[in-house]
């Protein structure tokens, strides 16, 4: 069957969304995966975005979190502070149904993400748009991190952490952040990484049929345990057809 790596990645994302979950999603491949989940593999999920649009189900793929393509196809368009209150209240109530997709420029072995700059913060080599809603999501919500699998993006340490993951080996203790929330997984174009329960360190949990654990290690800028890795299932033809239909102009799917 013919499919591209980014189509495989989008399908994998869709299958990570569980029944009844409330999914915070921005743009990019997570949006393709989340729309696929809503339309087919997990219709009981609810999609929300940080601009305040609740329970959206677009007919054409949005380019931004405030796009009319979501705003005109949602249950409620709330002011963004209500979204923030909702996010905080899910934590206060101990609810586990919320899951958030975040991205960035780089991720370290503990799932901390940099989305602000590369190099010195005050005189950066490369500057990015800034936190957006990702810091709040990473602080309060269990996250799935999306990252292209390159050595320069899977880094052993970072100069500026925008969105905290497990912070370090002892987890989030002492930071003031809720200790029972954090990154669940990293989904790249080579596989799915998860975090060791004891050490909070990233390990390879699954790789795509097109690749191998060796390829993952070769493209990761730190030592990664690949001994627990299993091959991930391929999407079926219907799923690939749906993914192509969701993003026909390939705004997010790579060409």
């Amino acid at each position: 069957m013919d499919y591209t790596k980014s189509e495989m990645q989008a399908a994998t994302i869709a299958h990570m969304i569980g029944p009844g979950q409330v999914v915070i999603v921005g743009t990019g491949l997570p949006l393709v995966g989340a729309i696929m989940a809503k339309k087919s593999v997990q219709p009981s999920c609810t999609l929300i975005v940080e601009s305040g649009l609740m329970d959206f189900n677009p007919t054409e793929i949005p380019r931004s979190v405030s796009d009319l393509r979501s705003m005109a196809h949602c249950a409620e368009a709330l002011p963004p502070y209500r979204y923030l209150g909702f996010q905080a209240n899910e934590l206060l109530k101990g609810s586990k149904r919320l899951i958030g997709f975040i991205g960035g420029a780089a991720v370290d072995p503990y799932g901390n993400v940099s989305a602000t700059c590369i190099g010195d913060y005050y005189h950066p080599k490369v500057r990015f748009p800034g936190s957006g809603g990702a810091n709040g999501i990473a602080s309060f919500v269990n996250t799935i991190i999306i990252m292209p699998h390159e050595k320069r993006r899977f880094v052993s340490s970072m100069s500026y952490m925008t969105s905290p993951g497990w912070v370090g080996e002892s987890g989030r203790a002492g930071t003031g952040l809720p200790e029972n929330r954090g990154p669940l997984a990293v989904v790249s174009d080579l596989g799915v990484m998860r975090f060791d329960e004891r050490t909070h360190r990233m390990y390879l949990a699954g790789y795509y049929p097109s690749g191998s654990p060796e390829e993952v290690q070769a493209n990761t800028g730190f030592d990664i345990d690949v001994s627990r890795a299993a091959v991930l299932p391929e999407p079926d033809e219907d799923e690939i057809r749906l993914i192509k239909k969701i993003d026909p102009n390939r705004i997010y799917l790579l060409k």
């Binding site: 601009s51 649009l53 380019r63 931004s64 979190v65 796009d67 005189h123």
Partner: protein
Amino acid sequence: MGKVYQLSDAIAKFVKSGDHIAFGGFTTNRKPYAAAYEILRQGQKDFIVEAGPAGGDWDMLIGAGRVKAYINCYTANSGFTNVARRFRKAIEKGEMLFEDYSQDGSILMFHAASLGLPYVPVRFMLGSGLQDEWGISEEERKKIDKLPNEKFIIQDNPFNPGEKIMLLPVPKLDTAIIHVQIASPDGTCRILGDEFHDVDIAVAAKHTIVTCEELVSNEEIRRDPNLNTIPGFVVDAVVHAPYGAHPSQCYDYYDYDRDFLKEYDKASKTDEDFNKFLDEWAYGVKSHEEYLNKLGAVRLINNKVVPGLGFHRDMTKEGK
């Protein structure tokens, strides 16, 4: 005194150099572009900017050197330019004072300002670079009277000792500029679709300028007050500026102008092309009306929202 102004008069009267200022809208949605272009033409500068979720609006003013201190949470024309290029350049070259909060922080700071609260206690930004690094140091902040001396203060929750909380300062805005779909001469506003942080900044700022797609009568806008979002008494100036959010979107009215946003993406790559872009679209036209004429009637019509879809699609190509 009436509140209906020409755009140039409203900007001249209520936007001063050095103002602590915020715009409404969200990246590529309902951004007050017509007002931003008018500020470019008139020359106000040295702004202390609470940017919120910003896009090309603030990127142009940064590129034109009008910003003294930029309080950032996110600056991009999402889906067209994923990092606003003039913003990026100004920071990489060390040309602009900048601070970073999370978007959650900025949004709550605006909302707290509208509620009249003294500060906002939050539990995010903790343990991250947003806590560790201050884009604008305490020393530098003390030189700018519009900014608080501290980016934030960390304290114990008085109701739950041992729990760390971050106190965020509340901005004291001089000026808010928002673009809405419908307003009336007394300043009453109707925002269709998501209000974003627009109501918050309009209520909080000392002066609020509203540009609108349609200026209707005070009687008409009162026929269904449930649909109205801002009372007239917090608004100083109402400006009739159809397509005043172009090239961003306006719910129920028009979609983003893809070609224009792509053109800006390309033009903002270099100083030379950026300056040419401003010469053509800001300085080279005298008014918003001239800007619309330059764009052309068909171009604007071809961005209209299709009923039922809520965005633009070429319906003449459907069902063939």
